[in-house]
């Protein structure tokens, strides 16, 4: 049985290789946004917000009233996706990068350790290829399991805590700044994302963005 599967895997791999077929790893949105980002240069004075929908759905230059602040969020993005689109950002050697990524990997049932490895890989590439960039890594935000709109995400509360412990430790080891936004967004009496900040238990409304802004202001 094992042998058959192995043989099939080799045949499939060779066929793909010979036909020049490209694996479609990410969403259409990923390719659309990533190709736009390749056309929008990053400069040395820029402050890059890098991540998934939670980054994507804000208007960062407006929030901080600073035209050097650039949105490099893509809704649905994964640690692998962010890694694969680092080059056009690193090329510009930006002043700062604020990274927030991982919750979509957890939603796919990737374990906290593997997501942490993905974040580490991103951090190491940035540190190596753009050493003057100050890299800030943010805690993954709480979710709220009482909402039913984002079921794959909403029940990942315990894994988020596990991942954040790992991110914090990694930042300490690498001399990076860890920004813990999580406590400001959770309910007072539980680990759930405060329902006043969300309509779907995962994404943030304007009030939440203002809370987040206050936390980030001193790092900008």
């Amino acid at each position: 049985m094992k042998k058959t599967i192995l043989t099939l895997a080799i045949i499939f791999g060779l066929t793909s290789l010979l036909s020049g077929q490209q694996t479609i790893k990410y969403s259409a949105l990923y390719y659309h946004r990533a190709s736009l980002f390749e056309k929008l240069p990053i400069h040395k004075s820029d402050i890059v917000f890098l991540g998934n929908s939670i980054t994507h759905y804000a208007e960062w230059a407006e929030i901080f009233n600073d035209r050097h602040v650039k949105n490099r969020g893509i809704s649905g993005d994964l640690v692998e996706g962010v890694y694969d689109r680092l080059d056009p950002i690193i090329k510009g050697q930006p002043k700062k990068i604020f990274l927030l990524i991982g919750v979509n990997n957890l939603a796919r049932n990737h374990c906290a350790d593997s997501v942490l490895m993905g974040i580490e890989k991103i951090a190491e590439k940035i540190m190596k290829e753009s050493p003057r960039t100050k890299l800030y890594i943010q805690s993954v935000f709480p979710v709220n399991s009482t909402f039913t709109n984002s079921p794959r995400h909403a029940n990942k509360g315990p894994r988020i805590i596990e991942l954040n412990n790992g991110i914090k430790k990694m930042c300490a080891e690498k001399g990076l700044t860890y920004i813990d936004v999580y406590p400001a967004l959770k309910s007072k009496d539980s680990e759930e994302l405060d329902p006043k900040f969300t309509t779907d238990g995962l994404h943030l409304n304007g009030d939440a963005y203002m809370v987040w802004k206050e936390i980030l202001e001193k790092y900008l």
Copy 2:
């Protein structure tokens, strides 16, 4: 039968009213973005890009290298949705508004006439309540029916042409500028969105945004 339906409707209406239950008309994303926009003031020098995902997924201030350019796109938005969130934009009496809306209504099988009426309602509110704003209305963009990712949108080609004819006529009647981006995005030999501009037959990649930018430049 009619009487029963009427009675039921009245009871249902009263129950909703008494329970204070709010009808959820739009997506979570709509409420998240709209509540953020209420916190980000629009100024008299601003140029507002208003619409659905096609507007939302770009980085307009970067594309035009102009910090006065503001993104007021919400993925999935409808003519009704745009109308319902006009107040925070109109309050700022912006210099210009570039509107692109309607394809998501067509995807819901709303007829071209009703979508046109929705666009007209938006235009009339802006003209009345922010008379110094220069309003540009853009043609709805072509879609490509050979892609299978966005099936509800991709087969609406003929309705898009019908809607654009209506928008063009309406703009002429109201003295508004109609910007016809459609021809630059379609295939040379058909009415389909050029496949070189899309991965899903509806949304745009970086190349398409650059073509669109060139068309808009003279109006900015």
